[in-house]
Symmetry: C2
Subunit: 251 residues, 2 copies
């Protein structure tokens, strides 16, 4: 048995999410179908994180176990040949020991949220950014965001469908900065609740527009009440950008 660690890049638009669904296309189904086409084996894709419908990934980490003599580079090439023309690609592939698990060995996840802040709607970036016409104060968003850093009960920023056992998470980092017409939110944690990033970004956008006082983000967090959520940002601005592993599990 060979465990192949895969790095996946995908456009979330045509998918109902990363995870396999009964009646809708998923990234998992696309990759598992490609693995079957290449190896003749039904393998399960294990991924570092679960992304929702419409959410993108620049470098999702995942693994599959298959009985094969194919070298990792040929495996990557063959998977990409079968994945075309769907917008999912394997950008790196390595054979790893079976102590390495894409999900359970992962010690940190990082996301980026991209806002296009201008009057004109997105064209080349349509479906890949959240277009906000009203001018955003990125500095105010960044200041307000710092109240979210640390260990908190994130019930306010958690989807009602969230299946996590506890709403308590530790947010390691969240920053907001402007790059020309773009406002970028970057955040990292060991793990996130369902919709947590989109919920945080939605409230920060209200701060950026001046509709919320900066301090209201801290108040919403302290309330531990989903009704205090101002706005859930749309999925198509969200990118899974990095999964971290401990040094002994790097390859």
């Amino acid at each position: 048995m060979t465990r192949f660690a895969l790095t996946l890049e995908y456009d979330g638009a045509p998918f109902a999410g990363l995870q396999r669904q009964a009646n809708a296309p998923s990234v998992q189904e696309a990759v598992e179908d490609a693995v079957f086409a290449v190896t003749g084996q039904h393998a399960t894709l294990h991924a570092a994180g679960r992304t929702d419908a419409g959410v993108h990934a620049l470098a999702m980490r995942a693994h599959v176990d298959v009985e094969t003599a194919i070298a990792p580079f040929r495996m990557m090439e063959a998977l990409n040949a079968h994945l075309r023309p769907r917008p999912v690609a394997v950008t790196a592939c390595a054979a790893v020991g079976d102590q390495w698990h894409a999900r359970f060995s992962c010690t940190g996840r990082a996301y980026e949220y991209r806002i296009l802040n201008r009057r004109a709607p997105p064209t080349l970036d349509a479906g890949r950014v959240w277009g906000i016409g009203r001018p955003l104060d990125a500095d105010a968003m960044d200041r307000a965001a710092q109240a979210l850093v640390g260990k908190h009960d994130f019930t306010t920023f958690r989807s009602v469908q969230c299946q996590a056992a506890s709403p308590v998470k530790t947010l390691d980092r969240i920053t907001v900065h402007r790059a020309g017409e773009r406002v970028l939110v970057e955040t990292a944690a060991r793990s996130f609740l369902h919709h947590q990033v989109r919920s945080m970004v939605g409230c920060l956008a209200l701060v950026g527009m001046g509709r919320w006082e900066e301090s209201r983000v801290a108040d919403a967090l302290a309330a531990r009440d989903r009704q205090q959520l101002g706005l859930n940002a749309p999925p198509h601005g969200l990118y899974f950008v990095h999964a971290a592993y401990p040094p002994e599990d790097r390859f």
Copy 2:
């Protein structure tokens, strides 16, 4: 009569080009239809350059003449409302004097060509970059490209459909550099022949792959023979990025 100078951004994918066509959607048709919807007038869109089917623009400059009391900002907002959901947007709009002509006042055009140089095919960038799997030597491409700078007969790099009176053009600048997985070609001239940028990029890609000696670009240019063209790069990696106007025509 008010002359509105427009800055246009568009995704070239769904269009048969900038210029109006009898039986296919064009950027010109989309914008002229929007102008008619807003003002009730049939105006002709004059643009700084003509882009082919599939070619994108980050900042095409154009103008329309209409009898209207609408202020430029409202004009931009109204045009964008009518352009949706097509991937064309007016990113800037100003009222200018009728001595300013988007095409005839324009003294320089700049294009960027984007190559994604990695084994995996493009996903999020599909239709927006030329994916080349074989490693490119961007430094060799840059060196070879310098033979094209200056006043030359560009017959080798000219489409057989090109309607320009002369094949002689002066290329002001062409540079190639790598930015991570991307190889970017930037070029500027007063004007270009039909397919000139794509033809130059195609030959430079052959140099980058090691299939052409660096000196062969200069040889192909000197031959003034379309049969010497190595490769025409695909349209979807090409972006019109800038139109220059003399200081007295800026606004």
